[in-house]
């Protein structure tokens, strides 16, 4: 008899919040519509009734103030979970995140670490057009002082908050919107989730696919198609975007000799670019083909479905990129 349970990604996140509220009186959730509305994506539905207004706080539309307040509350001894409805609105709080959360520990010579957790929904795919479809993980992963994670599986969605709250540094948790409805098995691994360390999601011998978030599942789909054609892909789920787990990526490359990085950010200045450069720096002589990447095309995300799909790193583009590494004949 297996000790696994099925649940959605949304439910996994919700359970992680409940567990955090139950375990530590310093924890509280704060953000737009997390209380009465039940959360924009229904993650915190019912929590206001269960935990009350002090711990489930609806905020006004003041990203800068409430994110800064989360930082201040963390400085003052609490363990706030700040929810920014989506990464698209986080730009209004960028000053507080980059100039306060990321710097206070350093500027104070180590006196004031900032144990705040900031959760943000992210990603495209629902025809919400340019201002509501960003993937800006690369911007946050760029900044020393922040830790950035993006759970892509049920286990990771369930376990990452505990690790984030236990960390004395500011942690940004990205939750891919397109995964909230995803159903899956929760295993014992959920209780061992760490803030750093990539994971081999699928073992393979012919090519390494490196990815994170919703794109992990695009890679899974691509791997199935490739396997039918005799190419076995190994998939690395990054999970932590800052710090990046070079060792796991490089070990995989040593096995397969080929790598394709799949990243929902725009290709210019992407995380894919960073990972590719690390591979060049540390694994150049293991490469049997040029490094390839599949990213979002250089356009603000368009509204019509067929255009949006064409812009995002779809499985068929991943398959083509992999095949292109083997020979001219595909």
């Amino acid at each position: 008899m297996s000790d696994t349970v099925r649940m959605t990604y949304r439910e996994a996140v919700k359970q992680s919040i409940r567990e955090a509220l139950d375990d530590d009186p310093r924890v509280f959730l704060m953000g737009e519509d997390v209380g009465k509305y039940g959360g924009c994506f229904a993650v915190s539905k019912g929590l206001l009734e269960e935990y009350g207004e002090e711990r489930i706080r609806d905020t006004p539309l003041s990203e800068s103030a409430f994110v800064g307040a989360g930082i201040g509350a963390a400085l003052g001894g609490m363990r706030p979970i700040v929810e920014i409805m989506t990464v698209n609105f986080s730009l209004l709080a960028l000053d507080q995140i980059v100039n306060n959360a990321a710097t206070l520990c350093h500027m104070s010579g180590g006196q004031f670490p900032v144990p705040v957790v900031i959760r943000m929904a992210t990603g495209a795919g629902r025809q919400l057009a340019a201002q509501h479809s960003h993937s800006l993980e690369a911007w946050y992963a760029h900044v020393p002082g922040l830790r950035v994670v993006e759970p892509a599986t049920i286990d990771d969605a369930r376990g990452v908050l505990r690790a984030a709250l236990a960390c004395p540094d500011p942690v940004i948790v990205f939750e891919p919107i397109s995964l909230y409805n995803m159903d899956g098995e929760l295993t014992a691994a959920a209780s061992e989730v760490r803030l750093d360390g990539a994971r081999i999601h699928r073992a393979g011998r012919d090519v390494t696919l490196v990815s994170y978030g919703a794109s992990l599942w695009r890679c899974v789909a691509a791997a199935e198609e490739l396997a039918a054609g005799g190419i076995e892909a190994e998939i690395v789920d990054l999970r932590s975007l800052r710090p990046l787990d070079d060792a796991t990526i490089l070990a995989s490359l040593r096995r397969t000799k080929r790598v394709v990085i799949v990243d929902e950010g725009w290709r210019t200045g992407s995380l894919a670019a960073e990972i590719a450069m690390r591979i060049v720096e540390q694994g150049f002589y293991d490469l049997d083909a040029p490094i390839a990447r599949v990213c979002t095309e250089e356009v603000p995300i368009p509204y019509p479905k067929h255009l949006e799909e064409a812009a995002l790193p779809e499985p068929k583009r991943i398959v083509a990129a992999v095949r292109g590494l083997f020979s001219d004949a595909q």
């Binding site: 000799k257 150049f284 002589y285 293991d286 490469l287 049997d288 083909a289 083997f326 020979s327 001219d328």
Partner: protein, 383 residues
Amino acid sequence: MPSEFRLPALGADMDEGTIVEWHVAPGSRVKRGDVVAIVETDKGAIDVEIFEDGVVREIVVQPGTKVPVGTVLALLDTEGSPPAAAPAAAGRGEGHTPSLAPAGEDAGGVHEVGLVPPPASSRVRVSPAARKRARELGVDVESLQGSGPGGAVTLEDVEKAGQGGGMRAAIAAAMSRSKREIPHYYLSTAVDVTAATEWLAVHNASVPVTERLLFAALLVKALALTCRETPGFNGFHRDGRYEESPAVHVGVAVALRGGGLVAPALMDTADKPLARLMEEFRGLVSRARAGRLRASELAAPTIILTSLGDASVDAVFPIIQPPQVAIVGAGALAARPWVVDGQVVPRQVLTLSLGADHRVTDGRLGAQFLAKLAQRLVDPGSL
């Protein structure tokens, strides 16, 4: 001793200022906090205050003069000791921002940048992993047909080539390429090496078996020394140009059982005594036949010596292994009729041949090279 009043650095990016006006003159009494001058900067005119009490003795810098931060502007007679905070030496305060403008004459002018023409290479594309493996296996990647995208040579291509059967194909490709790209010229000379063979006989009689030298050792050393003496034969022709190699590593062609040829290097051939060369040569041959050569030995030769002496051909006209620019062959060592002092006598004769790259040297130089090689060979005591 008077105290110095220097131009303060008022901003991280202030390097200099111009005195516009002095509010004091020699004899003026000043106290700490008084504004004593106005200084014009990029941001406008700034009041500059003095931080000591005293009497102005001398104005050193007159209005209208632009001076760097730290310059002494005036001298002050003070009652007590000079200010606790003396600014750093003129023009070099802490955190001084170096001027970005070039100081030279063409500052502000535009000058042409000579662009370096791209190398004229038509090298085959090879992946890093394939190249690394090829070195390990002693496979010449440049000679392979790649199966990767765009005809790139892959790891698999190299692995295949590294196996026995593939080697023949690899050699064929390598030889073809060499003849295609390198304009070979050939010279040969028959040499009376009796002096060398007699020297060898005497030497070998006086040492245990393990220390006996083969003629090949003499050849190899003589060749190395000649290379050092005559430039143009020991180096590499790459990307359209020739570069002499400062080191001489003579590669000795070794035939492998089951077909195939490798030419591992005797490192620093010219610097080693004959006995050592012989020992290393023996080692190379046995390891080559056992397939246990080091990648460095295969990659290193600066010139190759090939000897078919045991196959009884008179002369060898070998093919240069790019990127090298010369190859020396030695034919069979045999007794032949020779003219000495007007008489026909039997002598030990060896035909030495030189194949060389006409892009780098010509027949005259080649002839000199061979002549020098022959000279050295018949004087083994000098080796």
